[in-house]
Structure formats: structure tokens, C-alpha cells
């Protein structure tokens, strides 16, 4: 029983990372109805930037984190402005392919930076190595930080979307771009802002992930698992993204312990197929109807 709870606990913490990336993903989808396959690479760049600032430029942790997040947000906004603005109106499939291409480009850029390419690195925080004990359960402090940060972000977003003007404008754009434009909302700028926000969130996810896993150029594949998480939760739902991510993390963790080898790698994808088969719009999504 203890092992079961222990696995759930570690599953929740990795699930929070998936949840954050899925949040960024769903944000973009809600506002612009484009799918962004480059979230994994954005996370990787955020993590590497954080590593560079902490280890090589010896910035204090909090400052390095803020700068890394801001830099990734700006990068995401630039990507949207340069590459996705010309694609407005093109079929969704084309935009999907463009984001796949952008993911490759970002990975290539990371490989071109000498301290990053070919290296596997780790960030150590003041919390690294510490463990919290909750009765018989062990939770490493880094994992606890992930959970705490995710909770904070979720609460923060709730207030952002319901209480601030920009948040409301984003909600409006995600419900109907046409109506939002009529009401005076600058939809194109909002799109860029949404990308920036998503970039920031994925950078936070990357920085939270860095102390518990390794940072390396191919870490974007981990971010790719956030897309199944978003599907499970439902594309059009932000709470769904969080729930989906955590569910995914827990499933992976339990599968790794109880099932034979290899199941934990595919747990995410099997779960996605099951959800798509039973309830295609996801746990919290709205059913999609097409009008002819």
C-alpha cells in the first residue's frame, strides 16, 4: 500500500510538469485554434537558458528563473509573429506542420550553442537532495516544489483570466475571434500575447523539470507527451489540461511499477487511444459538432 501511494506521489509531481506544458498547449489552441508541436522544444530552451544563467553566469536562482522565463516568452512571441502570422487562414494541417518544423529549428539552434550541444546537464537548487517525509512516504524537495509551483500557477491563472482585462480579452478571443474583433479586441496582438504566455509557462515547466531530470537537447520528446495530456483533459478546457497532465503522470508511474517493462513508456499513448475511443472530446471538453 505504501508503495502504491509512493508511486502516486511521484506520479503527481511529474504529472504537474506535463500539466504545465499541456496548459501552454491548450492556451494556444483555445485562442488561435492552432496546434503547437513545438512546446517540447520551447521547454528545452527555457531549461537550457536557466542552466546557462545559473551555472555559467552565476546569477542568483530567482533572477535566472525570471530572465529565462521572460526570454522564452519573447522567443515564443517572435515565432508567432514571424512564422504564424502569415499562416492565418491556411488549413489547420499546414499550421501543424509549420509548428513541427519550428520544433526542429529550435532543436537545431540549441545544438548550435556550444555549451549546450551534446551535453547532458543538471541544475541543482538549494532544495536538491533534501527529502520531505510524510509518514512512510518520501517526497524529494524538488518534486514538492513542482507541485507547489503548479498549484500557484493554476490559482494565478484563474485570477488572471477572470479578473484582468487582458485575461478577459483572451477568453473572448478563444470563444469567438469574430465577435471579439467586433468588440474592439485586437485579436492578432492577443494571439501573440497568448504565445508569449504559453512560452513562459513551458519555460517554467522546463525549469521545474530540470532538477529532477536531466537537461539535454532531446528533452523535447518529454514535452511531446503533454499533447496526449491535453487530449485526455479536453482541448478546449484549461482545468482539463491540468487534470489530464496529472492523470497521465500517475498512470505512467503506476504502470512503471506494476506492469512489465516497457508499459510505462507507452502508458501515455494507450491512455490517449482509450480516451479518444470512448470520449473524443476529452474528459472536460465540449462535444464537437460540425454544421454542414
Amino acid at each position: 500500500m505504501v508503495q502504491f501511494l509512493q508511486q502516486i506521489l511521484s506520479g503527481i509531481s511529474i504529472g504537474c510538469v506535463y500539466a504545465l506544458i499541456a496548459l501552454g498547449f491548450v492556451l494556444i489552441y483555445k485562442a488561435t485554434e492552432t496546434v503547437n508541436f513545438a512546446v517540447g522544444e520551447l521547454m528545452m530552451i527555457g531549461a537550457f537558458l536557466g542552466f546557462t544563467f545559473i551555472t555559467m553566469w552565476a546569477m542568483p536562482l530567482w533572477l535566472a528563473a525570471i530572465v529565462a522565463i521572460a526570454a522564452t516568452a519573447i522567443l515564443a512571441a517572435l515565432l508567432e509573429r514571424i512564422f504564424l502570422r502569415p499562416m492565418v487562414g491556411e488549413p489547420a494541417f499546414a499550421i501543424l506542420v509549420v509548428t513541427i518544423g519550428l520544433g526542429f529549428c529550435l532543436r537545431a539552434v540549441a545544438m548550435m550553442v556550444p555549451p549546450w550541444s551534446g551535453e547532458t546537464v543538471r541544475i541543482t537548487t538549494p532544495l536538491s537532495g533534501e527529502v520531505l517525509r510524510l509518514g512512510p512516504l518520501i517526497l524529494s524537495a524538488d518534486h514538492a516544489a513542482v507541485i507547489a509551483a503548479t498549484a500557484l500557477i493554476v490559482v494565478g491563472f484563474f485570477f488572471f483570466f477572470t479578473r484582468t482585462r487582458i485575461g478577459l480579452a483572451m477568453q473572448a478571443v478563444s470563444q469567438s475571434q469574430l465577435a471579439a474583433t467586433y468588440m474592439g479586441v485586437r485579436t492578432r496582438s492577443i494571439s501573440t500575447l497568448v504565445w508569449a504566455l504559453a512560452g513562459g509557462i513551458t519555460a517554467i515547466a522546463g525549469l521545474l523539470l530540470a532538477p529532477i531530470a536531466f537537461i539535454h537537447v532531446n528533452m523535447g520528446l518529454l514535452g511531446l507527451k503533454a499533447i496526449p495530456a491535453a487530449i485526455i483533459g479536453g482541448f478546449s478546457s484549461l482545468p482539463g489540461a491540468i487534470v489530464g497532465g496529472i492523470a497521465l503522470g500517475v498512470c505512467e508511474s503506476l504502470a512503471g511499477y506494476y506492469l512489465p517493462e516497457g508499459f510505462s513508456d507507452v502508458a501515455a499513448y494507450v491512455l490517449v487511444l482509450v480516451v479518444l475511443g470512448l470520449r473524443p472530446e476529452g474528459l472536460f471538453g465540449q462535444p464537437i459538432h460540425k454544421r454542414v
Binding site: 487562414g89 494541417f93 509549420v98 537545431a108 545544438m111 507507452v266 473524443p280
Partner: protein
């Protein structure tokens, strides 16, 4: 929009829509392909073989994506199934050609089976479902050690036809050339028959096709099965060419390479597949050449070129090399009457699917 100047009633059902000039070009290419080994070195013939193999895989993908509108990010799974089935059969003693045919049928069955659960899904959901299938098949290949040899991989037994070894460079090249021609011919004929037309109808508007009496579920399943058939053959050939199969050859990256190939070659065009295959194989060679010329080793060049190409092609020329070719041909054909706006792109502001 493609402008087909009709000059005869049979044009829509003919194999070569534009008649004799097209025949001539294709015969010329065929002749070149036949004599190529005479004056190209072993390495280049090997590259040509890869082009042919990827072209066969691309035919499969094109049937699914270009002609039925189903985006699948899991084609590597079918390559894997085809490769492993063929090797398994050969190890049981089935002769090479028989194993090839059987493995293609097995892969087709797998394609139909895998296509069934995803029938209701569209667009991104289908892409994600097929991507998941790709990962799952990769993992199954790693775990099912009795058949696949697990993660350590298996060496491929050399291929022989009637006792004559065809596994080596030049005979294998001709084998792949023959199979590629057959695949293209088969695909072209499927497309001009009722099956293909139904697939195109489903691509263009599923609901309209349904109201015309086309059973969409059956058409989609057929599309998956046919696509898997061709991809399975390509997988078996690929395994023999490389000489070694392991589950981590069939990754998402390979599926995306196939996607890139079909996109750059030209969606919804069979000769575009061949262009795309040429491009896909020429790209790493060109990059290696560039690296050698500048003397520096830039490992980042591959993903960068890959990514940039995907982005730029989709932004500037979504119809790929074939689109460019058609523009040029169209220009020359309509010469005195050519207008600048003939090939202007039209944006399709698709209505949101959410309500």
C-alpha cells in the same frame, strides 16, 4: 486548384491525363533509371535504391494523406510491421518474394485493424491517434522478442530470388525499381477507379460524400489498408537494404520524414512522391557535402535544414515541387493567355469546429 485543360472525353479516366507528352517524359526517366548503374558508383546506386524505397512508402502515405485527407503520423509503424513480418517469414523458410508479398498483406490487415478505431476521428485527433499507434507499435516491437529479437535488433537474412542473390547493390536496385514502378502503376489505377474516387470525395467533404451514398467508414478503412500495403513493402525492402532492423529505427522522426517527403514533393500527386523521395535522400548528402566543403562539422545542420524546409515550404509553396512543376507547365501551355493571378493562393478560412 489545378487547371486541367480537357481535350478529350476520356481524359478523366485515362491513366496518363495529358496523353503522349507525359508518356514521353516518363519513358525517358525510366530509361535513365535503367542505365544509371552503368556509370554511377556503388554509393550513388545505393542512394538511388533508397529513393525508390522511400517512394514506395510515399505512395502509401500519399494515398492516405493526399487522396483521402487522413493525416497519419504513425506511418513508421507500418514500415516496422512490414519489415519484421518479412524477416520473420524468411527465418521460417519462406522464400524472399513470397515473404515480401505475405508481409505486405499482413501489414494491410494491420492497417485495416488499426484504422478501425480511428475512423471517427478527424484532423488533429487522427494525427495524435496515429502518432500514439506509432509509439505503441515501436514498443511492442521491442518487447515481442520471440518475433522481433527485441531491442538488440536482428540481422536481416540476405535476399535470394530463385537461388540468385539479390541482396547486393545492383540487383537490389533493379528489384526496387521494378517494385516502385508496379506500386506507382497500382496506385494510379486505384485512383482512377471507384475506390480512389470515393477516397477523394471523402477528402473533399465527408458529409457530402455520405449523402451521395459513399460508406465513409469502409472507404477510410480501405485507405488505411492500401496505405499499409505499400508501406509494408517499403519497410521490408528497407530492412533488407540496411541489413539490420531494430525497433528504434521506426520512430516518430521517421514518420515526420515521410510527411516531409510527401509535403515537399507535392500533396495529392503521385509523381510528387518521387520528387519528394529524391529530395529526402539528397538532403543529407547535400548537407554532408556542405560540411566537407567548409571543413567544419555542424551536427545541427540536419534538424535545422529539416525544420526550415518544413516551415518555408508550408508558408511559401504548400503544393511542393510538383506544384512548382505544374505552374511552369501551366505557364508554357497557356503562354499567350497566361495571367499573373492564375496560380494565386486562395485562403480557406475554415469555420471553427468548436460550435
Amino acid at each position: 486548384m489545378r487547371y486541367i485543360l480537357r481535350t478529350s472525353y476520356e481524359q478523366d479516366v485515362r491513366l496518363f491525363r495529358e496523353g503522349l507528352p507525359q508518356y514521353g517524359w516518363y519513358l525517358g526517366w525510366l530509361a535513365l533509371a535503367l542505365v544509371a548503374p552503368l556509370f554511377l558508383g556503388v554509393h550513388l546506386v545505393s542512394q538511388l535504391t533508397f529513393i525508390l524505397i522511400f517512394a514506395i512508402a510515399g505512395v502509401g502515405f500519399q494515398l492516405l494523406l493526399g487522396f483521402c485527407g487522413l493525416l497519419s503520423l504513425g506511418q513508421a509503424a507500418f514500415l516496422a510491421i512490414g519489415a519484421y513480418a518479412c524477416i520473420f517469414l524468411e527465418k521460417q523458410g519462406v522464400p524472399f518474394l513470397g515473404a515480401l508479398g505475405l508481409s505486405a498483406v499482413i501489414t494491410a490487415a494491420a492497417g485495416a485493424a488499426l484504422g478501425l478505431p480511428v475512423l471517427r476521428l478527424k484532423g488533429l485527433y487522427l494525427a495524435m491517434a496515429t502518432m500514439s499507434l506509432g509509439f505503441i507499435v515501436e514498443e511492442v516491437a521491442a518487447r515481442w522478442t520471440a518475433v522481433t529479437g527485441g531491442n538488440a535488433g536482428t540481422l536481416v537474412p540476405p535476399a535470394t530470388v530463385l537461388g540468385y542473390p539479390v541482396g547486393n547493390d545492383i540487383p537490389f536496385y533493379f528489384l526496387c525499381l521494378g517494385l516502385c514502378l508496379i506500386a506507382l502503376w497500382l496506385a494510379a489505377n486505384i485512383l482512377r477507379g471507384p475506390t480512389g474516387r470515393a477516397m477523394v470525395a471523402v477528402r473533399d467533404s465527408q458529409i457530402a460524400a455520405q449523402s451521395m451514398g459513399i460508406e465513409v467508414a469502409r472507404v477510410k478503412t480501405t485507405a488505411f489498408a492500401l496505405s499499409a500495403f505499400f508501406t509494408g513493402i517499403a519497410g521490408a525492402l528497407l530492412a533488407h537494404k540496411i541489413g539490420y532492423v531494430s525497433p528504434d529505427q521506426f520512430t516518430l522522426h521517421l514518420s515526420i520524414e515521410l510527411l516531409l517527403m510527401v509535403l515537399i514533393g507535392g500533396v495529392a500527386s503521385l509523381r510528387g512522391v518521387v520528387f519528394g523521395a529524391m529530395f529526402l535522400v539528397a538532403l543529407p548528402e547535400a548537407l554532408a557535402f556542405a560540411e566537407k566543403a567548409t571543413g567544419a562539422s555542424m551536427p545541427a545542420l540536419r534538424p535545422m535544414a529539416f525544420g526550415l524546409l518544413l516551415v518555408l515550404v508550408m508558408i511559401f509553396e504548400p503544393r511542393g515541387i510538383n506544384g512548382l512543376l505544374e505552374k511552369v507547365i501551366g505557364y508554357f501551355r497557356m503562354m499567350p493567355l497566361y495571367r499573373r493571378g492564375t496560380f494565386a493562393r486562395q485562403r480557406s478560412f475554415v469555420k471553427s469546429e468548436r460550435w
